[in-house]
């Protein structure tokens, strides 16, 4: 009984513990609450919205890629399962739009050629220093894992893109610094990148600021976690399998233990009876009268 109570207490402590470690602990800068969206990729069976990914790629390509690289994505990823799933032809055509530096050739010269599926996304600047210099001293972070490198992930990127506001009266802003209520310290050195109609979607979707922000945040989430869909699918399967296994093992365990559990109770009873019997017969045999 006491032990039960204690395991109960331990469970409670365990859950408090898990909730303490898993969220508030690491978040120090208290920002404004992020805008929240019902992302299709959240949840146990969450998958990406294909057309949103394709539109997101378009936004990245036409707007963000002027400053931000995605150095760990390859053009072939665009046609892979679980991603935007462009057809292979489309992906090849996308890759071919880019000039890639290759070489050295047999003469020892570097040369440029058009991109292939196996190439990594071409970077807007050759290195961090060049990117920083071109952006007023602020490095536009590489976007390969950006969605995982910020608390809030997709919500954060979405909010940031919609978080540009006029600075409150009396707020000092240097040249090239903008007010954004979701950025740490509310100051960002990125010019507001999106405004209504910044791109023209070919599928007829209205290119509102919020729509583009949502699409590009989806795309960046995929870029950071290209195997998210397989992960979810494998996870659900693995856990279902585990549950079946647990049930089977549970009953085998019960069966195995029933050997000692019942044997034991019986044995103990028999033991007691044996002893009682022995004593009684001793008395009886010797002198039955002494009992009455």
């Amino acid at each position: 009984m006491l032990i039960r109570l204690n395991s109960f207490l331990i469970n409670i402590i365990f859950f408090i513990f898990i909730s303490v470690i898993s969220n508030p602990a690491y978040s120090e800068e208290k920002n404004v609450d992020l805008l929240k969206i019902n992302w299709s990729f959240k949840g146990l069976l969450g998958t990406f919205d294909r057309s949103s990914l394709q539109r997101g790629y378009q936004v990245y390509q036409e707007v963000c890629s002027a400053c931000h690289s995605i150095q760990y994505l390859s053009y072939r990823n665009l046609s892979e399962k679980g991603g935007p799933e462009f057809s292979e032809e489309e992906a090849k055509a996308i890759a071919a739009q880019f000039e890639v530096l290759d070489g050295p050739n047999s003469e020892g010269e570097m040369f440029t050629r058009s991109g292939r599926l196996s190439d990594k996304f071409v970077k807007p600047f050759p290195n961090v220093e060049a990117a920083t210099a071109a952006n007023g001293g602020a490095y536009p972070p590489d976007m390969s894992v950006l969605a995982k490198a910020r608390k809030g992930g997709a919500d954060y990127i979405y909010s940031l893109l919609l978080g540009y506001e006029d600075a409150p009266a009396g707020y000092e802003l240097d040249d090239g610094v903008y007010y954004n209520k979701y950025m740490t310290g509310q100051k960002i050195k990125m010019l507001k990148p999106l405004s209504d109609g910044a791109v023209e979607y070919s599928d007829g979707t209205q290119a509102t600021e919020a729509q583009m922000a949502k699409d590009v945040a989806t795309f960046l989430t995929w870029a950071a976690e290209p195997h998210l869909e397989v992960r979810h699918k494998t996870g659900v399967r693995a856990i279902l399998y585990l549950i079946v296994l647990i049930i089977l093992v549970y009953f085998s365990m019960k069966k195995v233990w029933s050997r000692v559990d019942s044997k034991d109770d019986l044995e103990q009873q028999e033991d007691t009876f044996d002893k009682v019997e022995k004593w009684t017969t001793q008395y009886e045999g010797d002198d039955p009268k002494s009992f009455k």
């Binding site: 760990y72 972070p141 490198a149 195997h227 000692v260 007691t272």
Partner: protein, 428 residues
């Protein structure tokens, strides 16, 4: 420990076993008599063994692709995550596996504290366990540095800098650890080397740990010695094996939820930013399982003092079997100890929480109180309890705890005794 000597059935078996008694060992492991009243807190030893093996297997696979160079480490991890078949799975299992490993070891340790399993004759099991725990921390810390993200770099900087608090030779030690004048490529290389080495040291220690366990046998929730070879014990196989397996599978559900649905919540987002010696993150925090020690470190106003107290908080546990002078093992029969046990649990969790908070204001005050209490628990409360606590009566055996049904045989004996007393002669 089995009574009769084991003899293999087959001729080959006998030939081999008489030269290298592996079969005898395996028979011993199968028959190992285990108290039948162990509860599920006793299944975590098996769970730990599983996670140790999981870490080693996934780690060896990761090592096939990982590049230990400060310019390439981050990229090589992304390569594993993106381009290697199921590389993401291997990496997420390894990363979250370490958290589960620590979760299990904390439960395992607090189980030991609650049931007094560290007391005579199990002191050596306890101490080998603590060395395992220390080695786990070394392994986890060096492992955390390998992805070469911002937290990797800065955690390495903060922790290695601690050694500079040592008077006179501190600076030299720190530079010696770095292999240079700051954390850099040489540091990464040696951390990788150590990270590969330590799990195998742990593996060896686990063998000693279990060997030491098999000398006195398991403690149990009642905390009194069991009588071997009667119905108070069951053979390890299949009884305990099945129970451990069941508990392991249930524990794996938690593990899978993290791996497949929240693989990054236990980590820090900053570790997805490549290490940059020029940019200090606003808050440098270790992984959650090291937070209590981080809180103690920062609670002490002097750097050297912090380091001393942090190490003392672990080494004091080595003395526990001698600090706790009570002869009664299980907290079930120690009403006061039980309360202090739970206060200690809360204190440690509080320290963990405070370790993640900036050391200022109320957080700092609480961290100081909790740190002091931690030491008071071991140095003052336990010795006093051993002397003054009034423990409840212990049962005679694990199968008839006094709490349970009244003992029929004893009662009957008493009655018989009365007759005996009255008329002894009639029995002979």
């Amino acid at each position: 420990m089995s009574e009769e000597k084991y003899i293999p059935n087959s001729k080959i078996g006998q030939w081999f076993d008489s030269r290298l008694p592996l079969l005898t060992l395996s028979a011993h492991l199968r028959e190992y008599p285990t108290p039948r009243n162990l509860n599920y807190w006793w299944t975590f030893g098996g769970i730990l063994t599983f996670f140790l093996i999981t870490q080693i297997v996934t780690g060896v696979i990761l090592a096939m692709y990982y590049v230990a160079h400060s310019d390439l480490a981050f990229e090589s991890i992304e390569h594993i995550m993106r381009d290697i078949n199921y590389g993401w799975l291997i990496r997420y299992v390894h990363a979250n596996g370490s958290s589960m490993f620590f979760l299990a070891v904390y439960i395992h340790i607090f189980r030991t504290l609650y049931y007094g399993s560290y007391k005579s004759p199990r002191e050596v099991i306890w101490i080998t366990g603590l060395i395992i725990y220390l080695f786990m921390m070394v392994t986890a810390f060096t492992g955390y540095v390998l992805p070469w993200g911002q937290m990797s770099f800065w955690a390495a900087t903060v922790i290695t800098n601690l050694f500079s608090a040592i008077p006179l030779i501190g600076e030299n030690i720190t530079e010696w650890l770095w292999g240079g004048y700051s954390v850099g490529n040489p540091t990464l290389n040696r951390f990788y080397s150590l990270h590969y080495l330590f799990p195998f040291l742990i593996f060896g220690l686990v063998i000693l740990h279990i060997w030491a366990l098999h000398v006195p046998g398991n403690n149990n929730p009642v905390g009194i010695d069991v009588k071997k070879n009667n119905n108070e014990t069951v053979s390890f196989h299949p009884f305990i094996v099945m129970k451990d397996l069941f508990a392991l599978l249930v524990f794996l559900i938690i593990f899978f939820i993290f791996v497949f649905f929240a693989p990054n919540v236990l980590g820090h987002p900053d570790n997805y930013i490549v290490a940059n010696p020029l940019v200090t993150p606003s808050h440098i925090v270790p992984e959650w399982y090291l937070l209590p020690f981080y809180a103690i470190l920062r609670a002490i106003p002097s750097k050297l003092g912090g380091v001393i107290f942090m190490f003392a908080s672990i080494f004091i546990l080595m003395l526990l079997p001698w600090l706790d002078t009570s002869k009664v093992r299980s907290a079930t029969f120690r009403p006061l100890y039980k309360k202090f046990f739970w206060i200690l649990v809360v204190t440690v969790i509080l320290l963990g929480y405070l370790g993640a908070k900036p050391p200022e204001g109320i957080y700092l005050i609480l961290a100081r109180i909790a740190t002091i209490y931690y030491f008071v628990h071991f140095l003052i409360i336990l010795p006093l309890l051993g002397r003054y606590e009034k423990t409840s009566p212990l049962p005679l055996s694990i199968s008839d705890p006094v709490l349970n049904k009244p003992d029929i045989v004893d009662k009957f004996k008493k009655i018989v005794g009365e007759y005996e007393g009255e008329n002894v002669d009639s029995f002979k």
